[in-house]
Amino acid sequence: MKLMVTFSRGKGRTPIIAQVVRDTGVLINVERANIDSSEGEALIEVPDNQCKLVRDSMTELGAQVRILEHGVNLNESECVDCGACISICPREAFSLDKDWKLRLDEEKCVLCGKCISACPHRALSLPL
């Protein structure tokens, strides 16, 4: 399961992710992170059955945790199945099926957004 963790780094600069890994023993996979001096945002992946544990531990440490159920939005009425996105995606979430129709494997998507500007038909967008 993918979780979006946002936190402010005001006081104490708690190493939230490291702390939660140590406390819970859950091996967290950081898919991507954007952290500066005042705030941070990290997309992490955890096993489904340990999701609640990680989420509660992080919330306790002052982070906001949101479960990401969806990958990037694919607007099928704009998509023409050209496939420009396929080689751009670092997680290989896009593919063409046997009928050359574009398929998106949402499980693989880490919402990095790289495909969005690469789509000539503006058929891709980040979920709200």
Binding site: V80, D81, C82, G83, A84, W100, H121
Partner: protein, 502 residues
């Protein structure tokens, strides 16, 4: 054995013509043999759906009251050509909006019209005795226009070179997003389904031949601009009635960093007259190869990384220098199939009959590069020749003095053989002075990754380098990496005068 176009049309009228797509044809020829396929198949339909920048439409608005001779014309703030008198215009697909730039352009105006949306026409004129009106603004639907005739100067490229990027930064091109370090390969074209690839000698495709154009029955006008079948890059000029077109086969698009383009669906039905046609239409993806070009070289002649067939490109990855590099098509093979299939239906049902060219297209022509009479300004024309450099083993203090004395902001750093090894700027020196630490020598603080130019590089390319790297000066080096000059943004200002830097 051979068949005449008359016999084939007779069978189309009877509803008994056997029509297959160009994708189905190779297997059929393998199964029935060439003679068998000639007997069996009457028509092979082709199809392609991809970005075709050189597209647009002629529009006639009808006369206003009082009448106007439009001189400057905008449709949804996209400028259209105003040199056709009175109330005619040509809207080009790649023209960008004055207000939304690359996110809306001529292609979007055309798609909006086809989609039944209202488009705002705005025009101005100086006013004449016969056409007194000076301005007009009105909302128009496609049905309000007398004519809306798509006329595309260069469509249906026989094939197109694939693209990759060996630099260390992302390139945004008309071949889409190219990832750094040969991170991906993009390609375009329908391969096995491409019209000219199924008739490379252009025996069947020529002026007057009926085609499928964006869902409407259209026609080949003749050879396309830049038609270069001698090198495997034939093109077609085509036309069709916009009023009969469908959004399924006509889509506006934006290549990020490049601009607006239009995806066009186009198919040509080919009559199977003789064994030559059978052989030509038996072409497969494996038989059509293109060059993979390095788009990091900003030149007309880009280096070829390797050749690849459409079969290899379509497999999802190609091997380059021992690595598997993933490929992205930019054209839609699924829609190309849809074009060929719909065209097949048209011929089977008798909606479209076939015709031979009324005027043939030259199958051997080779397109020439531009004849340029004025020399492009080169770096050597404007570079500063009295360049001050410093040895890497000098003290930072000496560098500071040199910068002051030379009234310059950049100091190329050289080794004992006078070869460029780094660069220091006034910023680097100030930083070293403000934070005195262990750094004493120039080599301790210099930047070793130096962006350089060469004397015969075009000034516009040097400008691109300055912009991309957000820097203000470039050492000019010879083949041995000796510094022979320096180019700064100020030198460019002198040359360009009012044109200036962006």
């Amino acid at each position: 054995m051979h068949k005449t176009i008359g016999q084939i049309n007779e069978r189309i009228r009877e509803g008994s013509a056997r029509v297959v797509t160009a994708e189905e044809m190779p297997a059929l020829v393998a199964e029935l043999g060439e003679e068998g396929a000639l007997k069996e198949v009457d028509v092979v339909t082709t199809g392609t759906f991809g970005a075709m920048c050189s597209s647009g439409a002629f529009l006639n608005f009808g006369h206003a009251e009082p009448p106007i001779r439009m001189e400057r014309i905008w449709l949804n703030n996209v400028e259209a050509y105003g040199g056709l008198a009175a109330v005619d215009t040509y809207i080009g697909a790649t023209q960008q909006s004055d207000t939304q730039e690359a996110e809306y352009g001529g292609a979007h105006v055309i798609e909006d019209l086809v989609a039944g949306k209202s488009v705002e026409l705005r025009a101005s004129s100086r006013g004449t005795d016969c056409y007194p009106r000076r301005t007009i603004t009105t909302d128009l639907l496609l049905e309000n226009l007398n004519q809306a005739i798509m006329c595309n100067p260069r469509n249906a490229y026989q094939r197109y070179n694939a693209a990759t990027n060996t630099t260390d930064r992302v390139l945004n091109t008309y071949m889409g997003t190219l990832l750094p370090g040969t991170g991906n390969v993009t390609y375009s074209g329908a391969g096995v389904l491409n019209p000219i690839s199924n008739d490379p000698k252009l025996r069947l495709i020529g002026s007057g031949v009926p085609i499928f154009l964006c869902g409407a029955p259209g026609m080949v006008i003749g050879e396309g601009t830049q038609h270069s079948p001698g090198g495997g890059f034939g093109t077609l000029m085509v036309t069709g009635d916009l009023k009969q077109m469908s959004q399924d086969y006509l889509r506006a698009a934006t290549m990020t960093g490049y601009g607006v383009t239009m995806y066009v669906g186009l198919g040509v039905p080919l009559p199977v007259l003789d064994l030559d046609v059978v052989r030509a239409t038996a072409v497969r993806d494996e038989d059509i190869s293109v060059d993979i070009l390095d788009y990091s070289i900003p030149s007309r002649s880009r280096p070829v990384i390797r050749k690849a067939t459409y079969a290899e490109l379509r497999s999802g990855a190609v091997e380059i220098g021992g690595d598997e590099v993933r490929t992205s098509p930019l054209s839609s093979f699924r829609r190309a199939r849809k074009v060929a299939a719909e065209l097949k239906g048209w011929v089977e049902s008798g909606k479209m009959e076939l015709a031979l060219p009324t005027r043939a297209i030259d199958p051997k022509k080779v397109s020439r590069p531009m004849h340029e009479t004025k020399k492009v300004p080169r770096v050597i024309d404007i570079m500063n020749r009295s360049v001050i450099s410093i040895a890497e083993t000098e003290e930072i203090r000496t560098a500071a003095k040199k910068l002051l004395k030379g009234e310059t902001n950049h100091l190329p750093v050289v080794n004992d053989r006078n070869v460029l090894v780094g660069i220091v700027t006034t910023f680097d020196i100030s930083k070293a002075v403000a934070n005195p630490g262990k750094a004493v020598l120039v080599q301790d603080i210099m930047k070793t990754k130096v962006v350089t130019t060469t004397p015969y590089e075009a000034v516009d390319i040097a400008i691109q380098k300055l912009e991309q790297h957000n820097i203000s000066g470039l050492p000019v080096v010879d083949a041995e990496n000796h510094v022979i000059g320096f180019l700064t943004a100020m030198d460019l200002g002198k040359l360009l005068g009012r044109r200036g830097l962006k």
